[in-house]
Symmetry: C2
């Protein structure tokens, strides 16, 4: 964790590495999220949309209340700086897992 | 600029490099600022406090409405990811320059 939440900044910043195959559950952030991909190769998907690759140097913005998940590719780790903003609107809401069946049948577009 | 301001994220993110000797004016952010130092060596100072070095890997949080400046050291560049948050409270307010006289007489503690 690089920046802990407080009531003046309303922001958390964390440096997160997912090992190959690791991923979050589906979740959403009431205040939105920004991901700065700093190394490796991973996946990012919003509900109802195709999965996309997260490559080093990319910036991903996820609007408030949009269900999504992110994680590593099956054979590579990924590292990103994850920023949760506008946290006065509430913390991350955690939902169902991304099953092995779903994860290992992913096709990026 | 990595993330442009909008009314859902209320955040800007920029990747900023200061060449040796370059620095901002004094300024403040009504919503606060977070700096993630990614390379080089620089200075950060809040009004009424000693100047501090900004080193690679450091995270600096600046509370809302606190006057400060940041920039490179005289003989080294510095690169940081600069996040302005809670921008619904207003954008950066720019003030007086850091004069050469002040800058070149800095002593870090």
């Amino acid at each position: 964790m690089m920046v802990r939440d407080d009531s003046t900044l309303n922001t958390t910043v964390g440096n997160v590495t997912f090992e190959p195959g690791a991923r979050t559950n589906w979740h959403y952030h009431p205040g939105g999220q920004i991901l700065l991909v700093t190394d490796g190769l991973g996946y990012y998907q919003e509900k109802g949309k195709p999965v996309r690759l997260m490559r080093k140097g990319e910036v991903i913005t996820c609007p408030p209340d949009v269900e999504h998940w992110h994680g590593a590719c099956a054979d590579q780790s990924v590292t990103h700086i994850a920023m949760s903003i506008n946290t006065q609107k509430g913390g991350a809401q955690w939902l169902r897992p991304v099953t092995d069946q779903d994860y290992y049948s992913l096709k990026t577009q």
